[in-house]
Amino acid sequence: MLAYVIRRILMTVPIVLGILLITFVLFSYVAPDPAFTVAGRGKKPAQLRAIRKEMGLDKPVWLDSRAKAEQDGREYKGHFNSQFFDVVLWRFPESIKYHQPVGELIARKAPVSLAVQLPIFLIELGLQLILALICAFNRGRWPDLVVTFGAVLGMCVPYLSIIILGQSVLGFGAGIFPVAGWDTGLKSVHFMALPILVGVAAGLGGGVRFYRTVMLDEVYTDYVRTARAKGVSRNNMMLTHVLRNVFIPVVTQTVTVLPYLLLGSLLLERMFQIPGLGGLMVEALFNNDRPILLAMTYGISIAYCVMLMLTDIAYTLVDPRVRLS
């Protein structure tokens, strides 16, 4: 068990390095030069150079010679090494737009995203599992057909269209909910209802189909037949034998959704003016605010990676087969 945990942690190391490499290449070589953003329009090359030096963008990629670095009066660490250590230690340059440390910005906005996304996630998962169970119970009969057909229909409407529709019809038209906005503390519940409703509606379909398939795969296994042959009832079979085996794919699927909890939905937060991470990221895209984009991409990926690792370890507690192999 301990050996497995250690091995799993070691397996994560090259992946984290890979994430660093990809984000570095993406934002240092491919992405547009942030100096233009800082300088605004019509700056002279000399000014741009100064800005680049201030932001540390003029450093060489790898190690610089110590002598040359001292002569230029700067750190001798290269671009990649310094970013590597900075990023590992969660040190990012200030946001270009807000002139605030990115870490603080993210820490402030993450709870807002969580407050909207966590209810969406829980309600959605609950509904998906219930609907999938209904389908699996009634395979091939009308409840199954209606739910699966509805799920496909739901999946085919663009997310943005659902948001726009919800906002215009339920918010603006019917006036049941505020169209957009946010408030502090408990008062924000008022503003959260519509985004949550829209978010659940948009994400329901895919999961229902996935869990239905997973459950049906289990329903036709030999061990279920054995259980039925010894006289286990259908309900009991579903709730003990099948559900326990379905648990693993459910957890796997759930984990892939977790990073979006923090990221919020880019579209949802922007459209409803929720001051969360998703909104921050969209703004950073429009403002070319590279430090924020880098920190978000990297930070969320690392968080995701750690979650994947933890779930793999958690499996060993749930599934006896994994424990030994």
């Binding site: 090259p14 993406l26 491919v30 997310y159 990221l263």
Partner: protein
Amino acid sequence: MSSAATPAAVDTVMGAVALSERPRSLWRDAMARLHTRKLNYVYASVLAIYALVAIIAFTPLLGKSVFDAQVGAQYAPPAFTGTVEQGTANEHSTIRPSLWLGTDIAGRSVLYKLLYGTRVALTVSLLASILSVVIGTVLGLLAGYYRGWVDALITWLYTTINSIPWILLMVALAYALKDREFKMFGQEFKLVGIPSIVMALGLTSWVGLCRLMRGEVLKHRERDYVAAAKAVGAGTSRIIFRHILPNTFHLVIIDFTLGIVSFVQAEVILSFLGLGVKDQPSWGVMIDDAKLELMRNVWWQFAGATAAIFGLSICLNFLGDALRDALDPRLRGVD
């Protein structure tokens, strides 16, 4: 239940009993399975119409100038609602096709924009799907066949990419590639619009197929037919592409079909984030433009673009499911 209802009946033609138990190949069998559901023909026909519209949009018949032209007043409602505005009907009191679905903020025809958007949507999603499928297939085949360090490298690459949430990576890449100039072969290339979107989508979406292919190839390379091919002296590339690939190709087809759906939907998100196509109408841009129109009761642009995406997605989804059912070897054979 009468036994005549069963397909067991054998054609007895002029005293000869034909027992045509011809073995059917995987693909023939799949086509036969697709054929049994007549709805599949409906999906295929609708897709053909989309494709036709996209092809026509490439001709000057529906060129850029057509959709760009102002054809009526601002926000003229669709013709079928009956609320025709003054001056839009011509002297024969028939309504021009350009006004069938109303106009947008600049008085341009929503119908023409939709038709032209079909071209953009299909170009983007087809090219992105081809890109991702090619990368996924090739890397998956290589990893599964060669194993060893090739496999380790490719597995590391896709595990890493898989550890970055897709939407994040895709958006970051689209952002990084937007309006970039590259010098290649002594020439300057500028990535504007479609090519950068295609790359952002295609380069980030191959992981699923690659992983599937790798797993299948690992299974297939141990099969007897591969050993037989080796025994008659077939080279490695011949074994991979002539023997293993055809046996795993159904995965590629299914991934390709369902990939198109997600790329059409992703184009909307990119348009919303300002990373979509520029200077030409696309469904994503239309929905994005319609964000606030709906509150002014101007619903036609929104409804048109949403319906266009919905129709395409639903046909591809159902056809993709049918393909999966028809091609998945786990589901064949009755016992």
